[in-house]
């Protein structure tokens, strides 16, 4: 269970995270990115095409009970998480692309999240108690859109404040996870021990399989390996804290615990799996850079 105070604190932290994410870009950056929209479109297809379908498919394949499955589907429908930018940086990916994808998927979340959520919940045949009302989801997103847009304006008007907030928002993204570890795990360790394996598989699989599919699609659409790795991280890393916030604000009582299980587990495990993947990606980037350098010398020496 999550107390009301914790929900409020989580909401406040989300505000800061969104403010920081908004401040990572200006409106003009979007207009420029959409002049060559292929990268952004690939990102959107991964985010709202692959991931929700993957959430649904995993829930079905693992035979999760509706109360838990709805959390997995919700998780699949979330926009990109801001921590993907940090992992992209460490994996020597294309930071600008990562920032752009996170921001675009967040801006269109207002329309896409309720729509995909309703579609896949319907497809699974969940009704009544086992749904998250689209209106609630939209409400939370509208509220979070305000700091996002505010951040974008701030970046333009006062770049000093904007860039500071961007950094602060990034740190807050990590702080939320730590907050979860510290407050949620000690009170729920028994629950973690009782949770069956297929729930863990869903929570971990969503991120890892998402990354693999994102990479595959990007390669298929002729993105270079480095951009593809960036798209992979971006696809697999969802905005976990946002899902937790939506659940705590829309569902109350004992049912909250069940629905919350996958978003919380996902948020914890995605940090671990992203770190491991980042190590692999970083090595690949370095290998490619080295090969390029060698080729350059070769060209001049031939």
């Amino acid at each position: 269970m999550v107390t009301e105070f914790e929900t409020k604190l989580l909401g406040f932290m989300m505000m800061i995270i969104m403010l920081g994410m908004g401040a990572s870009l200006t409106w003009r950056d979007f207009l420029i990115a959409f002049r060559k929209p292929k990268g952004v479109i690939v990102g959107l297809v991964c985010q709202y095409g692959i991931m929700p379908a993957l959430g649904f498919a995993l829930a079905q394949a693992l035979g999760l009970p509706p109360a838990i499955a709805v959390g997995l589907i919700l998780m699949g429908c979330m926009p990109g998480g801001t921590t993907s930018n940090i992992f992209t940086y460490f994996s020597r990916g294309v930071l600008a692309l990562s920032i752009m994808m996170t921001s675009v998927s967040t801006l269109v979340a207002l329309g896409m999240v309720p729509a995909t959520l309703a579609f896949y919940s319907g497809l699974a045949g969940y009704e009544g108690d086992y749904t998250i009302p689209a209106a609630n989801v939209a409400q939370v997103l509208v509220v979070l859109l305000v700091p996002t847009l505010l951040g974008m304006v701030l970046r333009k008007v006062n770049p000093n404040a904007g860039a500071t907030l961007e950094l602060f928002g990034g740190i807050m993204g990590i702080a939320v996870i730590i907050f979860l570890v510290v407050t949620w795990i000690p009170r729920n360790h028994q629950l973690l021990l009782d949770t069956p394996l297929n729930v863990y598989l869903g929570a971990i699989g969503l991120g890892l399989v998402g990354m693999a599919l994102g990479y595959g699609l990007a390669r298929l659409l002729k993105q270079d390996p480095n951009r593809s790795r960036t798209i992979a991280l971006e696809t697999g890393i969802q905005n976990g804290p946002l899902a937790i916030l939506i659940v705590t604000l829309s569902i109350s009582g004992p049912r909250q615990q069940d629905v919350l299980l996958i978003p919380v587990l996902y948020s914890l495990f995605i940090v671990i799996s992203s770190s491991i993947v980042t190590l692999f990606f970083r090595r690949a980037s370095e290998r490619e850079a080295l090969a390029r350098d060698r080729a350059k010398v070769g060209v001049l020496a031939s």
């Binding site: 950056d29 060559k36 770049p159 350059k296 001049l300 020496a301």
Partner: protein
């Protein structure tokens, strides 16, 4: 200096062009005896008329920024003069090396050096330890102001030179506290570019505090009042890529005159107090030093400093967030900007004009720049030895290719190898006489005699002058390629290849060839937007349509990038050395 002989001679064929371009043909004499007085007057004048306006703004790539007003620049540079003279005990004429990228510390320190009556020794921050030692020793430097990012070279340098006084500055000097802390934290923890400093040093902020404290006793004015126009202002090192680096001695008169010459060139497109100039080229280089730092200060412009223009993306926030009206650059910078999506989508709306120098501006780049920005771009020509402006293309009127007409007060003549004047439209080496020509190289009488005779400076650049006095550079004397007895000028071939939209950058050199003595070789960097379209065959086919057969490159090498100097000049010398090494010939 020959202060009386600065008017344009009446037989100069370019005189009529001044009238047509709306440029005053007579160069007004400098209004001040030295640069310190000029700086102080300009700062106090604009501090009164525009007390809140930023004189200098430094913008780092993420858009974080800091600014100094005219009053602050004046007061802080006074304090630095006080530090050099009152605290360190330096004397007038002592050399102070300044090794800073573009940042707010640069104007404070450079103006402070002038105000102290000392000599500014501009030093490239990217120099290796060996290069630093050579330059500091050659100039007999007494104090060094250096960026903290490169402090790791200091122990070796100090040991080799015996230098005692080191002041450390940082890129975010004078930024507001929070962005400064953020940038420094990122530099230290994230990017790890701040090495530990193991030598005795003083931080700039502390040096300024100590210096300011001495001003009550001795106002900074005392230090510069006695400076005359003939006194040495700067040692500007040159020739690092061609052999031993030599210090061109630039006097206060040289620089004061050249500032006026630069302003004469831009006068048709400049309004006092209304301009905002983008300074992406490094201020330690003579081009940006005279044009951006001094020239735009004199007209009360806001100067937007970008610490590093590479990658070109670094300029995005500076261009977006400030009302840029002017910019200076080199061919590679303009070309780079024209290949940036953000620049093409939103070219600076308020831009009035741009000037290019340092190296030949390719016609294709110039035309595209005019098309994208809807403003004129003019190529100028100059050398370190001439402070630097020698000639420029007028901004008004129909754009012409080439380096234009000599700056007011400058005499230019073209001579052949025998030393005779050449006829109009015939190629000859440019020789320059004028108030901006240096008196010589520091401590190098022999080298000086090689290039300076009777006040005429031999530039080593081959040009032609048409009947109206307009100059066009053909090439550097030493870059010329001799193919079966025919002269091929790399610039001409590069210009032809640069017309290909699929080519991002190009450099042309000559390589030894058994059949033709030398053969033309082109290095081509493909434009990523046209990936896979560039091949040696298509480049040669294109050249065959544009050029006489002997000028067509025999070898075309497709590569990822080209070696460049700190301001972005393509280093043909490096390419030649590489080519010779691979051909197994001894290095030239």
């Amino acid at each position: 200096m020959n202060a009386t002989d600065i008017s344009t001679p009446h037989d100069a064929p370019w005189r009529a062009a001044y009238d047509m371009a709306g440029i005053a043909p007579e160069l007004p004499p400098p209004t001040h005896a030295n640069l310190a007085a000029l700086v102080h007057d300009a700062c106090s004048r604009y501090a009164q008329s525009a007390p809140k306006q930023a004189a200098f703004t430094c913008v780092v790539p993420n858009g974080m920024n800091g600014s100094l007003t005219f009053a602050q620049v004046d007061a802080l540079s006074d304090a630095f003069a006080g530090y050099l003279r009152g605290v360190l005990g330096l004397q007038a004429g002592d050399r102070v090396a300044v090794q800073l990228p573009n940042c707010l510390a640069y104007p404070v320190v450079a103006f402070g050096v002038f105000k102290a009556g000392c000599v500014l020794v501009n030093t490239n921050p990217l120099y290796t330890e060996k290069e630093m030692v050579h330059q500091l020793q050659d100039a007999g430097v007494k104090a060094l102001v250096v960026i903290d990012m490169f402090a790791d070279k200091l122990p070796g340098v100090l040991q080799a030179t015996g230098l005692k006084h080191v002041v450390l500055a940082d890129v975010t000097a004078f930024f507001p506290a929070v962005p400064r802390a953020v940038v420094r934290a990122v530099q230290k923890v994230w990017n790890r570019v701040l090495p530990p400093v193991s030598v005795p040093h003083e931080r700039l902020a502390h040096a300024l505090k100590r210096g300011a404290a001495t001003l009550a006793q001795t106002p900074a004015r005392r230090y510069w009042e006695c400076l005359g126009p003939g006194d040495l202002a700067a040692l500007q090192y040159t020739g690092g890529t061609t052999g031993v680096s030599k210090g061109a001695m630039l006097t206060h008169s040289n620089l004061l005159h050249n500032v006026n010459q630069m302003l004469a060139m831009g006068s048709t497109h400049m309004q006092v107090g209304q301009e905002c100039v983008l300074t992406a080229l490094p201020l330690y280089h003579i081009f940006a030093f005279t044009a951006n730092l001094m020239g735009f200060l004199v007209i009360g412009a806001r100067n937007v400093l970008v610490p590093s223009p590479r990658p070109v993306q670094n300029l995005q926030r500076a261009v977006e967030n400030y009302p840029i009206t002017w910019m200076t650059g080199v061919n590679t910078l303009y070309n780079g900007l024209l290949n940036e999506e953000w620049f093409l989508a939103y070219p600076p709306k308020l831009l009035k004009a741009s000037i290019a120098g340092g190296t030949a501006l390719h016609q294709a780049v110039a035309e595209r720049w005019r098309e994208v920005t809807q403003t004129p771009i003019a190529e100028g020509y100059g050398l370190t030895e001439t402070s630097p402006v020698v000639s420029f293309n007028p901004l008004s009127g129909t754009p012409r290719p080439g380096i234009g007409i000599p700056a007011p007060g400058t005499q230019v003549r073209l001579v052949n190898d025998a030393g005779d004047l050449v006829a109009a439209d015939e190629p000859g080496e440019i020789q320059v006489k004028g108030p901006q020509v240096m008196p010589g190289y520091w401590g190098q009488a022999e080298e000086t005699a090689k290039v300076l005779q009777d006040g005429w400076l031999a530039t080593g650049d081959i040009a032609v002058m048409d009947r109206e006095g307009f100059l066009r550079i053909v090439d550097r004397k030493k870059d010329m390629v001799l193919v079966s007895g025919f002269n091929v000028y790399p610039n001409e071939v590069e210009d032809a290849i640069a017309q290909l939209p699929s080519v991002l950058e190009v450099a042309v050199i000559g390589v030894p060839d058994e059949a033709t003595s030398e053969a033309v070789r082109a290095y081509v960097v493909p434009n990523p937007d046209h990936a896979g379209k560039v091949s040696p065959q298509m480049v040669m086919a294109h050249c065959k349509k544009q050029l006489t057969a002997y000028k067509v490159p025999r070898q075309v090498i497709v590569c990822d990038d080209l070696p460049k100097s700190p301001i972005g000049k393509v280093l043909r010398k490096e390419l030649r050395a590489q080519a010779l090494a691979e051909l197994g010939a001894p290095r030239a």
